[in-house]
């Protein structure tokens, strides 16, 4: 299968479409023209792109939780609760893991068992099984825009059904929903499938319906250095834009060192804009999202509140367009609606208290920003090179060659050579560069930083140090110092 970053022709698109809509009975509920008319009447307050643009214009950071349960009625109640008592600005519909792996049969069983046991046995909302009308009733039951959040390598049917179902934003991408979310899926396949999903978004855009698209920023959520997630975000922006997406939110998972996090957020939008313009896309609106710490959480709920709050600080001080909120139940399981609302409320308080404050562009921030820019450009440019100018081909070959490599990812198409570790200040650096195409200056920068930590800790930097860092926040610190 050869993949190019080329817009799917209308013909190709419609051909595939037929197959996609046949994957599950609910596929036949999708009628594109009718869906466009449905979207036309959606009020402004329920349109994702509109709310994001307002937020950027007024300098507000919007709050969005994660949430999804098996049954429609329960899901609606959950969202209404988060809207009313959690004061969420944006809502999610998190999809269950069976649907994410296109196991609609298993999802069906999960629905049935959930009905029987009066509790959700699925870890999300099985939107495909529920179908178009159910999705619309979800969207219509709240006052704010709702996004589909998932982790689905092949999300074509999910996109068809949920967009026809009135959702105005769709998370994911052919890389970010493959590498961290699956084991055996070829990148060729998932990128192709996401070209379809993006083309669908573009097709809506051709009919004046703007759907927000959001590459999944945090990847594995575990010590991902900014340049890695930035590179994936940029590539996915370029892939989406090529298919006609007009409104994209690029994301980043908080690392914990404020200087690095702020620098990452400042460069994220800048670099996305830079590459889009360079590739000729001048009308794509870029907004940003910061994910509160995505790695392992402390068990104690009070401590979890501090982690949540620190994420809120990073989002507020870096002026993220929106922040994805964790809950005090994070380390334990899918949160109750109350726990979910309490994460939102803590975040709200912090965001609003910090509204007037910005993190200054100090020398340290400028240095960090410059490093992130250089690293990211090394990676993305090398993808263009190896793809002979085509970034779709480039990213596939790049993963093969390890020019880009996501730490701890489950996919066998990810090299898994790169090892991240924190430096003495808690910023995330590279202990092992694998095959990342970095200049020797960049490498020296990382090595020096890590060497300083090694001196502090009187030990060699090795896998044990990485493990200590993986556990660190859940054990109450940022840097996994030896005890």
């Amino acid at each position: 299968m050869e993949i190019k970053n080329r817009k799917l022709s209308e013909e190709q698109f419609h051909e595939t479409r037929k197959e996609v809509l046949e994957q599950w009975p609910t596929g036949k509920e999708v009628q594109f023209q009718e869906a466009v008319r449905y979207h036309e009447q959606i009020p402004q307050n329920r349109r994702f792109p509109v709310c994001l643009e307002n937020a950027d214009r007024t300098g507000n950071t919007l709050l969005q939780p994660r949430a999804g349960v098996a049954l429609v009625e329960e899901h609606i109640k959950l969202l209404q609760y988060l809207e009313e008592f959690g004061e969420a600005d944006l809502l999610p519909t998190t999809i269950d893991s069976y649907t994410r792996h296109n196991k609609y049969d298993d999802a069906e069983k999960g629905i049935e068992e959930s009905v029987r046991e009066h509790r959700s046995l699925l870890n999300g909302f099985p939107a495909v099984n529920h179908g178009v009308a159910a999705c619309r009733s979800v969207n219509e039951s709240v006052f704010v825009p709702v996004q589909v959040r998932h982790g689905t390598p092949d999300a074509r049917l999910l996109a068809e059904i949920s967009l026809a179902g009135g959702f105005t934003s769709f998370e994911g991408g052919g890389i970010s929903y493959n590498i961290p979310y699956s084991k055996n899926n070829l990148l060729e396949k998932t990128i192709r499938d996401w070209q379809y999903t993006d083309r669908l978004t573009g097709y809506y855009a051709e009919h004046d319906i703007i759907i927000n698209r959001e590459p999944f920023g945090p990847l594995t959520g575990t010590l991902v250095p900014p340049c890695i997630s930035h590179s994936v975000a940029i590539v996915e922006c370029l892939l989406a834009a090529e298919q006609g997406a007009k409104d994209i939110t690029v994301g980043y998972g908080q690392g914990g060192n404020l200087t690095q996090d702020v620098s990452a957020m400042y460069t994220l939008k800048e670099l996305a804009d830079e590459y889009l313009v360079k590739s000729g896309f001048k009308d794509v609106r870029i907004s940003t999202v910061l994910h509160q710490w995505m790695g392992g959480f402390p068990e104690d709920e009070s401590k979890a509140f501090a982690v949540i709050s620190w994420g809120a600080v990073a989002a507020a001080l870096s002026k993220a367009t929106k922040v994805i909120v964790k809950t005090p139940h994070e380390s334990q399981g899918i949160p109750t609606k109350e726990a979910n609302a309490s994460g939102l409320k803590a975040t709200r308080q912090m965001i609003d208290m910090l509204k007037e404050q910005v993190f200054p562009k100090t020398d340290e921030v400028n240095l960090e920003m410059e490093i992130i820019r250089q690293e990211t450009r090394c990676i993305v440019d090398s993808l263009f090179t190896i793809g002979q100018g085509d970034v779709a081909e480039g990213v596939i070959r790049g993963f093969e060659a390890g020019l880009i490599d996501v730490p701890f990812a489950p996919s066998k198409y990810n090299r898994g050579k790169v090892l991240p570790v924190r430096d003495d200040d808690g910023a995330i650096r590279f202990l092992d560069f694998g095959h990342l195409p970095f200049t020797s200056d960049i490498k020296t920068f990382h090595q020096d930083k890590i060497a300083r930590r090694a001196v502090t800790e009187h030990r060699k930097p090795n896998f044990q140090m990485v493990i200590d860092d993986i556990y660190a926040i859940s054990k109450g610190r940022l840097v996994g110092r030896p005890r």
Binding site: S97, Y98, R100, H101, K103, D106, K109, G110, E113, R119, S120, L121, L122, N123, G151, P180, Y181, S182, K183, N184, T220, T222, G295, G296, E299, H329, S331, Q332, G333, I334, P335, T336, A339, F408, A409, P410, F463, I467, I470, S474
Partner: protein, 137 residues
Amino acid sequence: MNNTVVLGVIGSDVHSVGNRILEYALTEAGFHVVNLGVMVSQEEFIDAAVETNAAAILVSSLYGHGELDCRGLRDKCIEAGIDDIILYVGGNLVIGKTPFDEVRNRFEEMGFNRVFPPGTPPETDISFLKQDIILNE
């Protein structure tokens, strides 16, 4: 002591971080680890255990579908003739914050020998594992 153990994350679960660490810690502790990685089916667990004549199967489930995914694993072991193999399970086994006693009960009833709560440090698993293998021999 038979020091071969099969390790993996069951079902459609892709949480790979804990799995990496468990592999590392078990190997460091002297086990021969057959790590099937993430998204492992019941059949794959059993095939690997039979093939490598493993002393134990260590099942992880983080994503919440553990209950649905783990049912019947012990029966399949019996069918495959590895009736007595040690079965451990750990992670975020059910959906939502739940008193651990309840969780333990549910999984012990399914035929697991030991059930571990989220955040169990590898040292704990390892010391139980050594004891249980020796007792089982």
